[in-house]
Symmetry: C3
Subunit: 137 residues, 3 copies
Amino acid sequence: MKTLTEYLHFDTKNKREIINITDQVEEIVKKSGVQEGIALISAMHITASVFINDEESGIKADFLEWAEKLAPFNPAYQHHRTGETNGDAHMKSILFNHEVIVPITKGVIDFGPWQQIFYGEWDGQRKKRVIVKVIGA
Amino acid sequence: MKTLTEYLHFDTKNKREIINITDQVEEIVKKSGVQEGIALISAMHITASVFINDEESGIKADFLEWAEKLAPFNPAYQHHRTGETNGDAHMKSILFNHEVIVPITKGVIDFGPWQQIFYGEWDGQRKKRVIVKVIGA
Amino acid sequence: MKTLTEYLHFDTKNKREIINITDQVEEIVKKSGVQEGIALISAMHITASVFINDEESGIKADFLEWAEKLAPFNPAYQHHRTGETNGDAHMKSILFNHEVIVPITKGVIDFGPWQQIFYGEWDGQRKKRVIVKVIGA
């Protein structure tokens, strides 16, 4: 069994951003030498997401609005008694999920025509990480 | 390490449908010969889902209504400036998630009493695929 | 390839509870002897979740409220024609997802500073199970 583990680093300019990380993951998959297997791409923070969707600016703007609609900022969250103000970011992390598993076939990510991997930052302007772990043969 | 990769094909009659694919996945798991491992079942499109729940017609109807409530069709989505009208289908794909990983123990899917695997089509009446990748020993 | 499969058992006092299972999973990872790989932690029921977030009592209370807001109890669900009353629990299972995959590096779960694994019970006061399957080298 072959494995490779790498970490992606983020420090976004905005509080909330959606960043395409497909090329970086594809690079790590190639470096691993795995021909048949999977890659786990997982946010290492509880206020961020990793998800698969479409590289299209309109839908990314729609996602930011939709996230705010379903998991709005709200001063009244009980989490804020700790001094934090990011309860909504925890919920957005749940809504968009914090990880994806992608299939690797013949040495590359086995995606459909429009699939791309995104990092969803919900509480940015600070250092964050994503783990990419490839396992296979 | 053993691996097997197969693809399921869909071309639904309706725009939105929930289709039980458990038997097809179980067949692929058996064919793989994997005794201990996992299977990744992942939609290859950004307007579809794969999820685990219950084979009961009422809850499947409830899911379609719930998806529409939380991720409604809306002409005003910015994604629609591209000429598309399926922004809601992208959101439903996020809400229900696009993939599941199932455990394989002693050569079969290791499920609880009611668990079944479903393909959720949110923008159908066109050709779509799901990848099933089995890895293990 | 090494694998280990164990099952966690639950029978909660309350209908809805969020339970930290990180230590139990870490124990199983160590027992497996896997140095590089992944662990699948998956609810074996369709009215429960497994997810990753923060061990903080405020956010856990906020999650219970948020789950009820987005996937409320409702006598009118079609699922209830079966005699069940737990349609909302099925939806909460979808919203929070039923499984996570965690990375294992150098023999331990490779988590960021605040990540913890939680079992989300949405229809408790009965016997439930979670499977933990470790695979790797």
